[in-house]
Amino acid sequence: MLSRVAESLYWIGRYLDRGENTARLINSTTQVLLDLPAKASFGWHILIKVAGLDAEFVKRYPQADEDTIIRFLVDDEDNPSSIISSIHNARENARTVREVLPMELWERINSLYLYIRDNGPRALVGRGPREEVLRGVIGRRESITGLFTGSMSRDAAYQFIKLGRNIERADMTTRIVDVNSALQVSGDSAIAALTTQRAWVATLNALSALQMYRNHVGVHVRRRYAAEFLLKDTLFPRSVNFCFSEIQACLAALPDNPAAIRALRQAEDHLTGMRLEGLTSPVLHDFLDDLQGDIATIHAAVAGQYFNQHQPKNGQSAGQ
């Protein structure tokens, strides 16, 4: 497989997942807001921060209210990580590697792009239509994953898309969890406890994890157990730990993998060593930051081994 093609496939996986996860992040945040007691305050700005887009946002927008942030995250083509940009980038990458993909996969990625292009503006007119449009994105993206799983041979092309998807997913899960560390509740502790609990319910919901949490952990949502579930659970497919084992499986199927596997092992060791009992929001935030750094190191090892070994490329970079 051509290095350039491998790189494009990897980015298709990443961009599609980024688009989907941004949609999930917005929907869950909206839910948190609906459930928030009157005394609690919440800044939409946190979405920009967890996505790592503060600088990009401040450059162009004077204020960080809900409408502006939604526009920035959903429909702003100048924001390279907005949903529309992510899906556009996935499509452009798919266009350059169409010949290694099942024909229908390209058609669905193309359709997803046309959907968000045509419906994106509708997400800006209110919470009702927004939720519907974003669900449309999530559903279409899931149908692409289904087709991908059901119709692609487990060859190198498959592994690179899956690798990109799981690296992006692990990263986005840490970011969605991180939303909670920014929640600030003033007033009495009963309200604070209730608010925190609701926020974690919303986070589990965002990752379609609530029912699995109930089945495997318990009916009460507690910060420590929710965080542990989303980061360390071995069976839930969006947990960071699960993504790591998927990455492990991809790398095992690819040639010349030692450097990337070393980076993965290190990340896994850090994750295993995290103690989540009794931790405070700032400590959780630092944990998540470290984890994001580990994931970036895995990316760099993959890129160095498979994409850039012949010459430096001037195309995509990890920050895109």
Partner: protein
């Protein structure tokens, strides 16, 4: 009860029409389509068109226009009324196309070697001297089978009186064949009932034929040679086609930066496990950009050393570098003579009568009749840089007269042909629109021509320009076996 004779409310086109005769009755090859469309009725036809448009959008069949940087692809404009032709008529054209490409390849091989045709006084040395596409770097090369142009797109038109002419031979990097294949796919999706038990001949063996043509060029005979399609990248107008053909042939789609020529003069591609040897390059990049070592040093699209590898016999390239020497509208006028000279045969397909501006008497005729003629530059493609005399302003004609006088070798002129028409669905009715036909012909160890080809149609009323970059669309092309051979 007899079926209605007329095709919906199709008006009298006034000149030769591909589907109906002068009394608006269906030509034999169009009978099946005629009855079918009449049964459907206009409302159903319009509904199917909507479905077609949605399918094209979803399949992402696009082409790119150079100037539109921000919006790089446009949806391929497709007309759902096919163009029909009888197999009997097609068989004659098929033989003519193969004859023509055979002669053209003998010519190119001769030009880069002995130049007998020049020495024998058939082909003027001055035409060769003024050729923009002659590549001195190719002198003395003997590509396998003596074939240089492995893929040729031949433009055919039918004049108002019904005669089919060759308008030009595209021997550099002709495109359009993917649209021919996609058009048929669309028709089968939209009108499955038509293809069930019909005499419409299939077109889908082209990718396999192209694969065989290319595989025959591998330096060593081997079971599965590594074939790559070399594309300039996603901003090229034909990128869709490059990707499409690679996909259909199971070849690797590469850009220049994916390939490298090492000290052993072999071509390799950069893969996730290191370098892998390439046997055949189907290049969709013009000569000039192919190899910055041999041609334009500023080319970012090509592969440094590719010519070295080709000359050393370590890689097959299709079309061979330099094949474009015969893709020149002045050289075109000599093709009937080439056929006679190399094959000792009469041309099966006619050339459009042409005047060469480099010949003094012919130039005078052209300058005196600019309002009646079409004047073409020798080396442009895509319909750029030409003058359609009857439709041009006085000012444009004067400007063109100066261009001709400045560089007579670069221009030739032809009468304005009254291109034939076919019913085309515009807005909500069937109206006549002018069209041409581009079959694709392959040659390596054997010859092959597509069954029919790509029918291009000028969607604007009265327009004769069928190029997709200038408001043209396309149709499916049906060669109908009437069982009358």
């Amino acid at each position: 009860m007899s079926a209605p004779v007329q095709l919906l409310d199709y008006p009298q086109p006034g000149i030769y029409d591909e589907l109906v005769d002068e009394k608006l009755r269906p030509r034999p090859a169009a009978k099946l389509l005629f009855d079918y469309v009449n049964r459907l009725g206009i409302a159903e036809l319009l509904a199917r068109r909507e479905a077609v448009d949605a399918a094209i959008m979803a399949m992402g069949i696009t082409f790119t226009v150079y100037s539109e940087a921000g919006n790089i692809d446009r949806v391929w404009p497709f007309d759902l009324i096919p163009r029909t032709m009888s197999k009997r008529e097609w068989d004659r054209i098929d033989a003519g196309l193969k004859q023509r490409l055979t002669a053209l390849n003998l010519f190119i091989d001769d030009i880069y070697n002995e130049q007998r045709i020049v020495k024998d006084g058939i082909f003027p040395a001055e035409v060769l001297a003024g050729s923009k596409n002659f590549r001195a770097q190719c002198r003395g090369m003997k590509p396998r089978f003596g074939v240089w142009a492995h893929v040729c797109g031949t433009d055919l038109v039918r004049d108002g009186d019904g005669t089919v002419y060759v308008l030009e031979d595209n021997l550099r990097v002709p495109s359009g064949v993917s649209y021919m294949l996609e058009n048929r796919e669309l028709m089968k999706r939209l009108f499955p009932e038509l293809f069930k038990s019909s005499p419409i001949l299939p077109v889908d063996d082209y990718p396999a034929q192209l694969y065989d043509t290319l595989a025959a060029l591998a330096p060593q005979q081997q079971e599965k040679p590594v074939i790559v399609v070399l594309t300039p990248g996603i901003y090229n107008s034909a990128y869709f086609e490059h990707s499409y053909l690679a996909q259909k042939m199971g070849a690797v789609l590469v850009e220049g930066s994916d390939l490298v020529v090492t000290k052993d003069d072999c071509v390799y591609m950069k893969t996730i496990t290191g370098l892998r040897r390439v046997d055949v390059v189907y290049r969709r990049i013009d000569d000039e950009f192919l190899d910055p070592e041999a041609f334009r040093p500023d080319s970012m699209l090509g592969v440094p050393g590719l010519m070295r590898a080709w000359r050393a016999g370590n890689v097959g390239i299709a079309n061979a570098p330099g094949a474009g020497v015969a893709d020149d509208k002045v050289v075109y006028t000599f093709v009937p003579k080439m056929i006679k000279y190399y094959l000792d045969q009469d041309p099966i397909l006619a050339n459009v009568p042409s005047w060469l501006c480099m010949m003094d008497d012919q130039r005078e005729h052209v300058l005196a009749n600019l309002d009646k003629l079409v004047v073409k530059p020798a080396n442009e493609s895509g319909g750029y840089g030409m003058l359609i005399g009857p439709r041009a302003s006085e000012e444009e004609r004067l400007k063109f007269a100066d261009l001709i006088r400045e560089n007579p070798r670069n221009y030739m002129a032809q009468p304005t042909l009254a291109l034939s028409t076919a019913p085309t669905l515009i807005d909500d009715s069937l109206v006549p629109r002018h069209l041409d036909l581009r079959p694709f012909v392959l040659q390596s160890d054997k010859l092959y021509a597509t069954t029919g080809g790509l029918t291009r149609v000028a969607l604007r009323k009265g327009s004769l320009v069928v190029n997709s970059s200038q408001g043209g669309g396309s149709k499916d092309t049906w060669i109908i076996d009437l069982g009358d051979e």
